[in-house]
Amino acid sequence: MISENLFLLLLAIAFLGAPIAALSNARPSLSTKVAFGVSSLSSLLGLVVAADVLLNGGFEVEIPLHSIFGTFSFSVDGLSAIFLLTISLVTFAVSLYSLGYVGHYKGKYPIGLMGFFFILFYASMVMVVTSSNAIMFLIMWETMSVCSYFLVIYESRERGTVGSGLFYLVMTHIGTAAITVGFILMYTQSGSFDFSSFGSAASGMSGLMRSSVFVLWLIGFGTKAGIIPLHIWLPMAHPAAPSNISALMSAVMVKTAIYMLVRCYFDFLGVQDPWWGVLVLAVGSISALLGVMYALIESDIKRMLAFSTVENMGIILIALGTAMLFQSYGLSEFAALALIAALMHVLSHALFKSLLFMGAGSVLYAAHTRNMEMLGGLAKRMPYTSLFFFIGVLSVAAIPPTAGFVSEWMIFQSMLQSFNFPDMVVKVIMPVSLGTLAITGAMAAATFLKAFGITFLARPRSEEAEQAKEVPRTMLVGMGTMAALCVLVGVLSFSILPVLDNAASPLIGASIADQLTNGLMINIDLPTGGRFSQVSPVFIAVLLAIIFPTVFLLAGRYGGRGKVVQADTWDCGTPLTSRTEYTGRGFSNPINRMFSWVYRPKREFQATARPSPYVKTDMRYTSTVVPVFERYMYDPVVAFVRWAAKKFSVIQTGSIQTYLGYIFVMLVLLLLAMRW
């Protein structure tokens, strides 16, 4: 009862707070406080509601609104609650962060408007994961897309921002179109737009119909999730958007697509055909691998993070595909394991990706550039930011005992169960995907090693980086919350996994909570008996906490200090400056060369000739990567549309009489056709 009312209170606060934030636009500091105060308050309520639902069971609130599309109601079950929790958690931290971050927009852009859309964005995401009617869902989905579009084009006077926003808007609507068609197909089968009617209708559907709905939803939600090749709005929209918005979009908005995929496939359609799982697995593997490969060679921090999101959505889809495959062969206990792993990765990715985007935002705030090659040396100037960013890096690289480690470990474990498949083909496919996931993990580690090393270590490479100062306290609090959660969720995963199981078991039809954890350990048991593997992030954390200081102490005590000699480093006669440092491009160049058939790099080296061949003063080196999908997939489509539009433009004469004439001729023709 109480959480129902809290849920309504959450929405009421958001809908009242948003206009107030917009109205107080004239006073920037007031509207900052109103906007992000309201969003943190309502996200706290969201946390409470989600926690209550996870512990005590779900509820349903009906909206007293009669429509021809069925009943409009919010229903929060375990799965919704997991996503509600994730969304609220991230929004809470990002709201705190934004209190400080939007300071630099003062006098430049309307802060009240950002607050308005920020709050509505949060509210719409909450409603997306709690809608229980297809039409209502689509309205919320659209609200979410439009709010995020306005937030993406917030810095509208920057070059390219409006274009990126438009691209995002077009892509997201292509996705929505596919989703809508899927829902309409379901409607023709069930006769109702209520989600509750979809599940029962699916069993009576023909195979072709089910498969078309499956593919439509994969395209539709996949566009939002950023799967390759529908990902290209991500690396455009994220650098354009303000960093707090990128954090929200990348960490949670794309997750709403995962929520709907789980809901649609496991709850509505039911997974029967194995090829569905194989397709999702393949799409996930490709997204993960290519995503991380593009992330690795990127030197714009936010673009790099956007590609990393593509990669992580791919990883989630790999886990989801694995779960679907197990489910289609009736191995529901393994399916539960894979689905729990997917949900765990949803949670951990939300935590570390929002942390990393906030960190990138802090760097941007302090040093005014996103280009890694212009940064460096920030660890000394911004110690807290770099500490938090480092924790995010550990988590994204799946280093124990962080959240990222637990989720990726679980995904690996679930995929290693592939020997249980009765089908030989699947037995072969799974290890290939597993290998992809492994190399993805390695490259993700390299990507973030580069990102952290080039950005925060060594010497500053530009004046701005030299002048950088630590960011305001509210921003640090926002990042610190997420950094702490990254570690805590990992360490305490033994108590979180059963909760996830609770949410997943109604969808799968099997609960593995009893086998999954044993005290502080996470176990993977075989249904035939026997233990497959186990791990305990708690013990790892304790061990690390003991070993590091011990080693440090021992080394200090027995290793001896050695004699400190102060002298110049041997520099071959040229003074050491930041120009002699290792560059990000240099770091990623070996990978670039190894995979040149993917990147298709174009290198150009120019040097002005001098009388002496040994002295070259003016040298220029450019290296560009061909954006394969843009060039070979999107550009032809765009060119075709433009060409067709040009051909059709002859009918636009500009004369009213002609337009009226079209109507007139059409009318006469229709009358004649009717008479026949």
Binding site: Q652, T653, G654, S655, I656, Q657, L660, G661, I663, F664, L667, V668, L671, L672, M674, R675
Partner: protein, 219 residues
């Protein structure tokens, strides 16, 4: 049993409407266009009054009175006033010459009869013949809009189309519900006001109300 006098009256008014359609197409002067439109609206009002008398529905009387007041008096005056004010040339300036226009309109009238034939066979209403005429009026009004140059003739074309729709409503169902009719009246009135205001604007910008000069606005 239907009163034969009423039937004759309905048919007469319908004939006047069709006749004015052709005269509208044939006339080359702005002034006569508004006159003819006023006559057509009067005939329409009379037809509505006969139908009201026959069916004993009071609301059709109201509509008849409104129709006469608005379309036979207010709107023609308003358009005349505007043409005086902006001093347009008196000629209609057709895009299709008048003899050709008349031939096309004859074809349109035939089309109207051809199209409505199956419906008229079913008809038992006293206004049965009117449906074909209403179709013809709609088509000819639309043709006027397409084939005449001036912005004000477009407005008159639209009004003729509306007369046709109104006639169809009376012919088929003894008029639409009161609220719908009132809405349509309001719509037409506002439409005309807007069009005339636009004519003023076009005149000021291009020194003529030739709507073809709007061609330059496309990209």
């Amino acid at each position: 049993m239907q009163d034969s006098l009423s039937l004759d009256l309905v048919d007469t008014f319908a004939a006047i409407i069709l006749l004015t359609d052709f005269m509208l197409v044939a006339s080359g002067r702005m002034r006569s266009l508004t006159r003819l439109f006023a006559i057509q609206s009067l005939a329409l009002g009379g037809l509505a009054a006969v139908v009201a008398f026959e069916t004993k529905a009071e609301n059709i009387y109201i509509i008849a009175v409104l129709s006469v007041a608005l379309k036979a008096i207010v709107i023609p005056r308003f358009i005349d006033y505007t043409t005086e004010k902006i001093q347009v040339k008196k000629e209609v300036e057709p895009l299709i010459k008048i003899p050709g226009s008349l031939l096309i309109c004859a074809a349109l009238a035939l089309l109207a009869y051809y199209v409505t034939e199956p419906i008229m066979d079913l008809g038992t209403a006293i206004t049965g013949n009117c449906l074909a005429i209403s179709f013809a009026t709609v088509l000819i009004g639309l043709f006027l809009m397409v084939s005449r140059r001036k912005a004000i003739t477009e407005a008159i074309g639209l009004l003729v189309v509306e007369n046709g729709v109104f006639l169809a409503a009376i012919a088929m169902t003894y008029s639409m519900p009161m609220i719908v009719e009132l809405g349509v009246f309001f719509d037409v009135f506002v439409g005309v006001v807007i069009m005339v205001v636009f004519a003023f604007r076009i005149n000021r910008t291009f020194d003529s109300i030739d709507a073809t000069s709007l061609r330059g606005l496309k990209d």
